[in-house]
Subunit: 409 residues, 2 copies
């Protein structure tokens, strides 16, 4: 017999362009299921659970939910709290009080670990609870997943941004550095490679956290490209680190740290400004500019990968289907063929508190670019209908004036 | 009798998302005109003219031109050179050698001045030349124009970015500062107000270069909003200045200056980082983040205002129609009704080397927000089909757990 009771859903960590697709996918599936007596949403993730801040989604209209699905960032609002065991126990107590029987948490690897611990308390207390983790992260760093919901749309933003930068940097030449999100995994930075259409398009250099960063190498790479093209576009992960794994930004300035000891990487232009200063000083290049793509990458309204949106919706729907079938776990995305996906429920411990980084064969030998293997991997994720920048192809006119006046132009 | 001869077209200054629409509008119109013997494009603006770097657009396909029209930034490449009289004379010499009879320059007020001076040389030398300036600037600061091509698309980027920031900043609360392009005119920063849909949506504060900036006022404004909403979103022009017109960024750090003595404002996150430091230190708020929207604002591939694209195409086409009718001047956009436009050719001196700033009635009394007059002015310019972010509306669930345990949650 199927478990009957309330469902509770929450969202955690950094927002994405499609996390609400997953939320709505799970809720709409629940609305069709007679075993679900009420649908509660926790406000601000796990904080909303311990504080008992629940919104009664049973009373939300279907049209509004469908509008929300297309809205970036977390409709239920989010949290940076990473619960310890005591916190999880408190969460469990509130859930039990409300007779919550289905618990869904949309988030990254920390969120998966939270689901795992809460489920442990339920088992210990002999309380029937089905708990499912729904994957989400623009960092694309969850184990067991070919890729994660949110990555494709953030990657699409990066690609469209870099396509524009390519035109801008050709029009007014110089060195351009784009700082892209990614603490440990370089997927998002690497995705910028998809902006290349013409042979001399940028980014000409790509630096990810997986490859130790050397300022000297960085400078000589830029010099080589600049000497060849008269310009150079560089994509740099905010999380670039040295051999010991120490972030480069921490070597350049004092940094804010969060409660987990992580250095704050986003929301500041400092890394880019320091790299610009290095290039100006050491290479003597005059026009050196930097943009830090920042929060726009993860929550820009109106840039969404269609495949990402569909998959995000489906992982939410599948999470509900698995849960209502009584199965606890983490929904994962597997790639089949070229290109389609399947969704598998795996044990929470396989995803929880683990981080995936880019495979070795995604990087070129010098560690300053990606391979065709990566580009083939990434292309279906950013969706269909990307812009296709044009370029003039007509021939140049003979310099008859200079010829006439003996090149004394 | 109509003047018969070659046409030369060039693009100058900072790229926009639709400057190629104007370029293509003029070229396609020229291709239909039997009096135009050849169509030349100068590479890198006025530099391409003195260097005789001409591309023979007569040999460009129509399909490729139409693709280019949808491509951001300057297809003919651009320049930051602002010609003096000697430079203009040199330009004129090369044009005369090539029997150029129609000269088009797409750019801002400096470009308009260049066209004016070149035309003067032609008059002095009794050489028949029709010269037309085609307006372009994301800054929206050209006299005689209700608004300028390029502004609407950049404004749309800012609006969509801020719509996303609104969701992101609600999900993870704090102070968010967005630094937006604009040296003397605050139009682009002010456009961020169009991102507001719900009553507590940001930006809650808007600071433009037209209103002298006071750090103390800035801090007390933020405190007031933060105390009310528990968060605060601020839009700040990169060009904010003090009472004497000295940019705030110059007071905070050493700045790069261009050949005209202008401080480099874009391509650095410094202003934002300094403002963040002020807010953290003086208001003791923990989560303070900043994005500098940077070059993405003017050349992002795929964010275009449909009205801006159409108008940009039309000013190019109208420039050609006026020119082929023998009329020299600057094409301007006039607003008629609510909302439609007409294009008028005005004397070059009315636009040349002048800067328009925001009208007084676009600002609120405190100078930290815009009025409904501005919003009504701006709305048609960003185009149709903007995203409409959703928000949950369902009621909260009674806190029965906290009630049972005497609020000892």
């Amino acid at each position: 017999m199927k478990l009957r009771g309330k469902m509770l859903i929450a969202q955690g960590g950094g927002p994405t362009a499609v996390i609400n697709q997953s939320f709505v996918g799970a809720v709409l599936e629940a609305k069709k299921n007679p075993n679900i007596t009420e649908i509660y949403g926790a406000i601000h993730g796990v904080e909303g659970i311990v504080n008992e801040d629940f919104i009664d989604l049973t009373l939300e209209t279907e049209d509004n939910l469908k509008l929300l699905a297309q809205t970036p960032a977390s409709a239920l609002l989010s949290t940076r709290v990473k619960p310890d065991r005591a916190y999880c126990e408190k969460m469990f107590e509130v859930m039990r009080h409300h007779d919550v029987r289905y618990f869904f948490y949309i988030g990254g690897n920390d969120s998966s670990d939270t689901v795992r611990i809460v489920k442990e308390f339920a088992v210990d207390e002999d309380y029937d609870l089905v708990a499912v983790h729904i994957p989400k992260t623009i960092d694309n760093d969850l184990m067991e997943n070919d890729h994660t919901p949110g990555f494709g749309s953030a990657a699409r933003f990066v690609v469209q941004a870099m396509m524009g930068v390519n035109q801008d940097n050709r029009a007014l030449a110089g060195v351009y550095i784009g700082i892209i999100m990614g603490r440990h995994a370089g997927f998002l930075t690497a995705a910028s490679a998809l902006a290349r259409i013409y042979e001399d398009d940028g980014p000409h250099l790509i630096y990810c956290p997986e490859i130790p960063f050397h300022v000297d190498q960085f400078l000589s790479d830029i010099k080589r490209v600049y000497d060849k093209h008269g310009r150079c576009i560089v994509a740099v992960s905010e999380g670039i680190s040295d051999e010991k794994g120490e972030p480069i930004i921490a070597q350049l300035m004092d940094c804010e740290r969060d409660e987990h000891g992580n250095i704050q990487l986003s929301g500041t232009g400092a890394l880019g400004d320091e790299l610009v200063a290095e290039v100006k000083e050491k290479l003597g290049i005059n026009r050196v500019r930097c943009d830090t793509f920042g929060y726009l990458q993860r929550s820009f309204a109106g840039i969404v990968s269609d495949s990402d949106a569909i998959e995000a919706r489906e992982v939410g729907e599948m999470a509900a289907k698995y849960a209502f079938d009584g199965r606890t776990g983490s929904v994962t995305i597997k790639r089949v063929g070229d290109y389609a996906v399947e969704y598998e429920l795996v044990d929470l411990s396989m995803v929880a508190a683990k981080t995936k980084v880019m495979a070795n064969n995604f990087f070129n030998k010098d560690g300053n670019d990606v391979t065709k293997v990566f580009i083939d991997y990434c292309r279906p994720l950013v969706g269909t209908g990307l812009p296709h920048p044009g370029r003039l192809r007509a021939p140049m006119v003979e310099k008859s004036y200079q010829k006439k006046f003996n090149n004394k132009a």
